[in-house]
């Protein structure tokens, strides 16, 4: 199979960009990525975005971005797979390169949640479940996550602070990260004492309203040779689906889609779990981070919290996670999130991670989930 | 006055919401003496309840007791003065929720607190005329009193439903006679677009409640040759506890025959459901062969009076659903602030 490489990235800071539009944000990250790679044109543009047609009442984001970049005429698409949209877009982009149709493409993720209220954001999250049987019944994603959390604590007899520790780790890693939404430490005690969003899920175990855009440049091996920046290889990209509502599944505490996508990505990349130097996890809620680690086979069921408390998942631990703060602290601008994750993995593998730089990481795994696992996408990046 | 031919109660159901507010709590807010309050406490519908949801609750039990397939019901008539919609039938929602078919008549009746027995009258008539096999007569209200008004102490929420069909050996009770007495009496009303009703204070007593209630009972007794002694239970409309007991006194009815049908002391005045809930409470204890005289009152004004004889089916059928007492004991007392939230009285 033809190799696909990452040859550039561009990020906006994740925050509430009150004075900037969705269009403007995606243009900024895209231009940064193009400039970083020394490009003025690409063969195709892929935009990952989830809520544009609701919050900005704007469709055709492919055409919009092409116009913003002065690239009208280029083929351009908007890809949506819930919060896993970023990797879904990367998958389409990689397919275009591998088929030979394109040599170099731009993948831009963007979301601007601050055009809605925090309460509306809760309503929007139900779009990633069967909305008619959840959102319309007053059950938003945080409520479903809280039910998973309860099931988890009761089935495994696990300690809640182990799960809450995932928020602490993400915040620790975000310190000093210029594009992070919350670049400061938060203690376990603070997380555990924050108000409940839905018991037992604390507010500080969930993400908040965020705007942001991230872009990466993907290209073929031949094309990469013409570009100056350091590269990382997209060794695998895999996506799988599951029943949309977790409680319809045989075991709601097992993200089968993530298990499948992980398995197939490892196979595709020809690496084992032990070779994965660090993980960028989908910690939309603390409990989702724990379930992800377990579902993808990195820790036994019910044990992720212990690993978190034991420091195994910290930057200096045996399997660092969320090296720039994850969804929790870098921020979770939904459609852009996975592109941030990929850009951060790229920075690690190309030794541009600054104070968070990991030694000897040759392979990175990026995991992304739509909703509570109705789709899971996994990328493996390796040093080029 | 009309004898009722071939109509019987096959199922009955009562529903009282879980929340209660004590009359003394309302008195506390308005600086009234706690000795002045007309009842102990009243039932308050929760924020997610209305006359339609409560009608469904009561009807579910009525159908369960009847033991019939809901599809055999040919009419759903709902009496209420607190229709959630000014225009849009309540009965169709009740019917769909309970899996009753679409080939039915659905009607919403309004006659203040007499709306429930209006529904009974029309269902009885349809059954007698063989237009339908079974019909559902419902009284349901989330009655509202203006904050500070005397009605606030008693205006309560509840629902009662009857499945009425032809006479059979296993029916719960048989309808024998009914009279109705109405006049144009402005004792209580609510104009369109108004949230709360108006009433004429003490005028609601003698010329309204007592005049119509007592005339209906006297007419029924006189026309059919019954005497007080022929009845085991008397059920009246209960805007408070005092009125039905006073009516009984005027009619020389022993207290012991009235008390079993009193519900307003602990649930308040549930308007269209009120006398029907009294009937439900009596049916929970009545024995085959006993005779009941039930008399409603609705402002505006009028009374329906029914002679009902308990049948053999009661013993088995009443066990099929929870007794009304289950709803009396299932309760949570709330304060005035929570009461305002539950009843959508906080408007900004």
């Amino acid at each position: 199979m033809k190799k696909v490489l990452i040859a550039g990235y561009g990020l906006t800071k994740v925050e509430e960009h009150w004075d900037r539009s969705l269009e403007n944000l995606m243009a900024e990250s895209s231009l940064k990525a193009l400039e970083y790679a020394g490009l003025s044109r690409v063969d195709a543009v892929y935009v990952a975005n989830v809520y544009g047609e609701v919050l900005q009442e704007q469709a055709v984001l492919g055409s919009v971005l092409a116009e913003e970049l002065g690239m009208s005429g280029v083929q351009a698409y908007r890809i949506e797979a819930g919060a896993a949209s970023g990797i879904a877009a990367v998958k389409m982009a990689a397919n275009a390169i591998q088929s030979g149709e394109a040599n170099v493409v731009l993948v831009t993720g963007v979301e601007k949640l601050s055009d809605g209220t925090a309460e509306e954001h809760l309503a929007l999250t139900a779009m990633e479940e069967r909305e008619e049987y959840t959102g319309q019944m007053g059950v938003h994603q945080a409520a479903s996550a809280a039910l998973l959390y309860r099931l988890y604590l009761s089935r495994y007899g696990a300690r809640q602070d182990g799960i809450a520790q995932f928020a602490v780790i993400s915040h620790e890693n975000a310190v000093g990260v210029s594009h992070a939404q919350y670049p400061f430490k938060v203690g376990l005690d603070t997380v555990m004492k924050s108000p409940y969003l839905s018991e037992p899920l604390h507010r500080l175990e969930a993400t908040a309203v965020a705007d942001g855009s991230a872009a990466i440049i993907l290209c073929s091996e031949d094309f990469a040779a013409k570009l100056d920046p350091p590269k990382a290889r997209l060794a695998a990209c895999s996506l799988a689906t599951d029943y949309v509502t977790p409680f319809d599944r045989e075991d709601p505490l097992h993200f089968q889609a993530l298990a499948r996508a992980t398995h197939s990505a490892l196979e595709m990349a020809g690496v084992s779990r032990e070779q994965i130097g660090f993980l960028e996890l989908h910690d939309s809620f603390s409990i989702v981070a724990a379930l992800s680690l377990e579902s993808s086979g990195f820790f036994p069921r019910g044990k992720a919290g212990e690993a978190a408390l034991a420091g195994k998942l910290s930057l200096n631990g045996e399997l660092p996670i969320n090296t720039f703060g994850g969804l929790k602290a870098r921020g979770h601008p939904v459609g852009a999130t996975a592109i941030y994750q990929l850009a951060e993995a790229y920075l690690q593998l190309t030794h541009q991670a600054g104070k968070n730089q990991l030694d000897n990481a040759k392979h990175a795994m990026v995991q992304s989930l739509a909703g509570l696992g109705c789709a899971a996408a996994v990328c493996i990046l390796e040093e080029a | 006055m009309p004898q009722i031919r071939d109509a019987a109660i096959h199922g009955y159901g009562g529903y009282v919401p879980r929340l209660r507010i004590k009359a003394t709590e309302i008195a506390r807010i308005w600086g009234k003496e706690s000795g002045e309050v007309p009842i102990k406490e009243k039932a308050v519908a929760a924020i997610d309840e209305d006359a339609i949801t409560m009608a469904i609750e009561a009807s579910r039990y009525a159908i369960r007791r009847a033991g019939i397939d809901a599809a055999r019901i040919g009419a759903v008539h709902v009496g209420t003065e607190s229709k959630p919609y000014a225009v849009k039938p309540s009965g169709t929602i009740v019917a769909e929720a309970l899996g009753i078919g679409s080939n039915i008549t659905s009607a919403d009746y309004e006659f203040a607190c007499k709306a429930g027995t209006e529904a009974m009258q029309s269902i009885i008539a349809m059954v007698s005329a063989r237009r339908i096999e079974y019909g559902l007569a419902i009284g349901s209200d989330t009655a509202q009193g203006r904050p500070g008004d005397a009605l606030e102490y008693t205006a309560a929420s509840g629902a009662a439903a009857l499945v009425i069909g032809r006479e059979t050996r296993d029916a719960i009770a048989r309808f024998e006679y009914s009279v109705t007495y109405v006049t144009d009496t402005p004792d209580f009303w609510r104009r369109s677009y108004e949230r709360f009703p108006m009433h004429t204070s003490r005028f609601t007593g003698e010329p309204a409640y007592f005049k119509h209630t007592i005339t209906a009972v006297k007419n029924l007794l006189a026309e059919n040759g019954y005497s007080i002694n022929d009845f085991d239970y008397f059920i009246f409309h209960q805007p408070n506890v005092k009125f039905p007991l006073t009516a009984a006194k005027i009619l020389s009815i022993p207290l012991a025959k009235v008390e079993p049908g009193i519900v307003s002391d602990v649930v308040g005045n549930t308007y269209a459901a009120c006398s029907m809930l009294g009937l439900v409470k009596v049916l929970d204890i009545a024995k085959p062969g006993q005779r009941i005289l039930m008399t409603s009152f609705g402002s505006g004004a009028g009374s329906d009076s029914f002679v009902i004889t308990v049948g053999e089916g009661i013993e088995e059928k009443r066990e099929r659903a929870p007794p009304l007492a289950a709803f009396f004991s299932r309760k949570k007392t709330i304060d005035y602030g929570m009461y305002l939230k539950m009843r959508d009285k906080i408007r900004v």
């Binding site: 069967r130 039910l147 | 924020i47 929870p322 004991s329």
Partner: protein, 138 residues
Amino acid sequence: MLEFGIRIPRYWRGKPFRYRLEGFRCEECGEFHFSPRLVCRKCGGKRLRRDKLSERGRLICYTVVKSASPSFEAYTPYIVGLIQTEDGTMIVGQLTDCDPEELHEGMDVEATIRRLQTDGESRLIAYGYKFRPAIQRP
């Protein structure tokens, strides 16, 4: 501010399940689906028949929702529970007529119909199932 109101035809179409827990069961493998399906999601079978979930079940776990989406803000705090109906189906829904202190895992609950939300502009009322602790005989 955006309105996330009730799309009326969509709400209307969803009545069978929302009012009566009536969905579609696969004739081949028994899988229950909340919505009309052409194909069974589990076995791929194409023979599905209307079926109704039991209105009784037991509570598996619950959470108290303190922050809600705009349509549900007036009802907060409210309880959301995971219920296993008597026929074994797992269903998520609101719990009503109870306080969290009264709830425990495994307790009997029954379905009832309540107001779910009221549309902001049209004031249309959406009715649907909620669960409550089973009514106990005194």
